[in-house]
Amino acid sequence: MSGIISQPRFTCALGAQQTVLAIPKAIPIIHAGPGCSMKIFDYAATGAGRQGEGYAGGNHVSCTNASETDVVFGGEEKLRSVIEGAIKILKGDLFVVLSGCTAGIIGDDVEKVAKVFARDGRPLVGVETSGFKGNNYFGHEAVVVGIIDQFVGEARPPKKKGTVNVFSVVPYQDPYWRGDLEQIKSLLEKIGLRVNILFGAGSKGTEEWKNIPKAEFNILLSPWVGLSIVTHLEEKYGAPFFHYPVLPVGAKETSAFLRAVGEYAQLSKETVERIIAEEERRYYDYFVSIGDFIALYQNNLPYELYTSADSLYAIGITKYLENEVGYIPKGIYITDDPNPANLEQVKEIAAKNIPEYQNSLLFEADGEIIAQDIKEKLGTSTRALLIGSDWEREIARETGNLFQYLSNPINQKLIIRQTFVGYQGGLNLLEEIYGALFAGEEVSAATYVEAISGGL
């Protein structure tokens, strides 16, 4: 979508900076105007659950801070000087040069500049990510492909059976990415795969990236973001990909995911089923306590569901809460602005996974239109659960409904390792949703007299 937009939920292509920062010991170098890098940080780290600088983010990001002189005379010379400084001063295993709008318009070629350093054996990559080229989903895909082409390279080593690369949530754009990726890795390892998770604390960094060509196959756990990456890997390294478009949240979907991966990878069916049975037993052991709570507080609990997030999350979370917890989806707002070809695919995925609620679906990146729709549908209801960003939080506060954070911008919450993925994630989500019920005031399902007389 390239029309005017208010209350946006993503940033420009330069958001790729955060994708680089999500790779352990990878360092972005920004060739853009002053402040571009900080704005990305403000949105994607501070405004994504206060995630902080990480290893070398925040104002530590090297930048040419392009000025009027650079715009008139070209900024490649200045860029070289900043690259030279960065590789000398900063301890990193991979340096990724990203261009912003000023560089893009005047035609500075960051890939060419990076190549000169790479020829001298420096781990340098250059990718064009001018803001006007697209949003940060586009930037994420571009930088991953750039690193694969320019850093991982042309190698075609023998494939290692049972080793997979995983492409899923977009780091930082998914505010829960750190916990999510750890959870996905752990689930896949349980059924016997060796996993290159590529981003976050569970990744071995550039060493893992260098092993991408050795993977037997790639897993794309996302409706459309990352599709261009895995198809590129298929062409480049001959590794096929397994596409699972729904976020596995809770017992049913996680078990389905593990079964599907197990089948695709031709893992021992017995092992996979044993793992699933064990995980489900544990899951329902915990789930039953929620069952008691729900039965007791039925009158106080919300049941209308509004979810506002990208296609991976909106469909995954809605499906879980509808299918396993009993919510009634009223609004499913998909905010990641898929292009027309991908849009059709996402619609199919939604139709398959939440078939009864197709009328609740709205593809919209403009938060204001979403807000209008929610308010209209809500009417005077105070029995709704709104799941989304700061924007939905405001509506929940205005209308006296329950709220849960899921998507950016998130300014009023600290996210460290929380996740809603997997068996564990499903329980985490319920704990957060219903925990919030007690945050504002005292809630009781019984009258005072009933409570003290033990309900008799």
């Binding site: 390239s2 005017i4 208010s6 946006p8 993503f10 940033t11 420009c12 292509a13 330069l14 958001g15 360092i27 920004i30 105007g33 002053p34 402040g35 571009c36 890098s37 900080m38 704005k39 940080f41 403000d42 949105y43 780290a45 501070t46 405004g47 600088e53 070398a56 925040g58 104002n59 530590h60 090297s62 930048c63 040419t64 801070n65 392009a66 000025s67 002189t69 650079d70 715009v71 000087s81 900043v82 030279e84 400084g85 960065a86 000398k88 001063i89 900063l90 301890k91 990193g92 709008c101 000023t102 803001g131 006007f132 080229k133 697209g134 949003n135 700061d390 950016n408 911008p409 300014n411």
Partner: protein, 512 residues
């Protein structure tokens, strides 16, 4: 009433954009050395020519400019640029609301619209999209003003936003305010304040037209004239809190004057009356010399640009200068005597804990110098260095008063690599810094305190007490920073720590 602005002129409202600060007042944005050397190099002009070889991400004037104008009541902001230019506002969502509510003003959402320029717009121009956004903003929100923040892309491709504003002005009820805050145009991020106030002065400051009374009432007219003759406009800034405004207003009231706080969070009505005052008082020259200088030329209102009232010495000085203008010297001394007697006694227990400890202060020029002076003079701390975003003519005298003359001074916005190198050499016990810097100090094991906070009092006498109290509290238990620094690394190489920061500075041919 400011010797610093001697020789400066402010009559730029005929042009669509103000000159950037590099050319308007001259500025040093890169320096590593001693305080004494910096003063000499500012005079000779060579400090203004310095630049960095290796640089880390700086700030964009669009963020600061729109931070100012977006605070006004009942306005809509349009960011004319690709989507990322407004992303900083996503990270600060809710702050405008908090501030407005703390001031008891109407709770309003911050509405901003992106023209979301794409590749086609870069080729074909973005004016039609901007027109659409303006019409949409008018229809949807009926604001009193629509502000256009112009980004780098339309700035480079040459979108003529001023002609469009002129064309639509008659057909929209909202006033259209183009703000030229293209990031690449200035290395001095505070140029954004000038860009913002330029827009406000050109399009929003329209003095009220008073009609003659049907029945003449000389008594009432005289009272109104008297009130104006005793009114002081205090110019607030983005980094002060409501409690700062309450404290400064209290001090001005105590002199028998009428304080009025402007222009952040002001309504169009407030702005219309901006000229109805006897004296305009700045609390930070970095923010508002352009505005105050212009108001003097336009309305003849005298202004005071001197120090930032943080700490005892600076607050005393600020009060004395205001009082001097109104010939209230005796009242000022009585007030200062009373306030400082109480404060000195209250500070004593903190002084005991803080005296002799080494401190370092980083951030905006006026705030750091006044804060550093307070920690050194009033609390007996050992000031080991300061780091300023930028240095300009407005702090020359304050710099001269900083001791010792070989005090370590760094000039640079952000640049944590250089700052950590300095901290490594100086090893302070307490770091007081601008947002973005404190996390790195923590990783270095240096206990730290934010230089400002939206909901905390820093200014005036009550602010001095609060600042001392918080500093003492930070040093009471430093286990968190010890824990972080022992277990989390810093991304800088040993080579860097062995190098003198001055090696990263180069001289350029062009000032600014």
């Amino acid at each position: 009433m400011s010797k610093y602005s001697d020789g400066l002129t402010y009559g730029f409202t005929e042009s669509t954009a103000p000159p950037v600060r590099e050319t308007r007042i001259g500025v040093c944005s890169a320096y590593c050395g001693s305080c004494g050397d910096l003063i000499d190099d500012l005079v000779s002009g060579c400090a203004q020519l310095q630049a960095r070889k290796f640089a880390q991400s700086g700030g964009c004037q669009l963020t600061l400019a729109l931070g100012i104008v977006s605070s006004l009541t009942n306005v809509v902001v349009i960011i004319h640029s690709p989507l990322g230019c407004g992303s900083a506002f996503l990270g600060t969502g809710g702050m405008r609301k908090t501030m407005r509510m703390s001031k008891g003003k109407r709770d309003e959402d911050f509405v901003w619209i992106h023209t979301n320029m794409d590749e086609t717009d870069v080729v074909q121009g973005g004016i039609e999209k901007l027109r659409g956004a303006l019409l949409y903003a008018e229809k949807e929100y009926h604001p009193e003003a629509i502000i256009i923040g112009n980004g780098c892309v339309p700035g480079i491709i040459g979108d003529d936003i001023d002609s469009l504003a002129l064309e639509l002005q008659g057909s929209l009820s909202a006033k259209i305010v183009p703000v030229h805050c293209e990031g690449f145009k200035s290395r001095y991020v505070a140029s954004g304040y000038d860009a913002a106030y330029h827009g406000v002065l050109r399009h929003l400051v329209e003095p009220v037209q008073y009609n003659e009374r049907v029945l003449p009432d000389e008594g009432r007219d005289a009272m109104e004239r008297y009130r104006i003759s005793q009114t002081v406009n205090i110019f607030n800034v983005g980094s002060n809190s409501n409690s700062d405004e309450v404290e400064l207003s209290r001090l001005v009231s105590a002199l028998g004057l009428y304080p009025r706080v402007l222009p952040l969070h002001a309504s169009m009505e407030d702005l219309a009356h901006i000229g109805d005052a006897a004296l305009n008082v700045s609390i930070c020259a970095t923010h508002d010399d352009y505005l105050l200088g212009h108001l003097k030329e336009r309305f003849g209102t005298d202004y005071l640009i001197d120090t930032l009232p943080i700490g005892v010495t600076s607050t005393n000085r600020w009060i004395r200068l205001i009082a001097e203008f109104f010939h209230l010297e005796n009242e000022a001394e009585r007030l200062i005597g009373f306030e400082t007697r109480e404060l000195e006694a209250a500070l004593a227990p903190f002084r005991e804990k803080l005296a002799g400890k080494r401190c370092y202060v980083g951030g905006g020029e006026l705030r750091i110098i006044t804060t550093a002076e307070f920690f050194a003079t009033s609390l007996g701390m050992d000031l080991v260095g300061v780091k300023a975003h930028n240095i300009d003519r407005f702090v020359e005298e304050l710099l001269e008063n900083l001791h010792p003359t070989d005090l370590n001074v760094t000039v640079g916005a952000g640049q944590p690599a250089e700052e950590l190198n300095v901290l490594n050499q100086l090893k302070p016990d307490l770091y007081i810094g601008h947002s973005g810097a404190n996390g790195w100090a923590s990783r270095f094991g240096v206990p730290n305190l934010p230089l400002f906070g939206q909901s905390l009092n820093y200014m005036g006498y009550s602010g001095a007490y609060e600042l001392a109290r918080r500093a003492a509290k930070v040093l009471k238990n430093t286990n968190f920073v010890k824990n972080v620094s022992r277990n989390v690394g810093i991304p800088l190489s040993r080579v860097w720590f062995e190098q003198d920061n001055r090696e990263n500075i180069k001289e350029t041919e062009k000032a600014g």
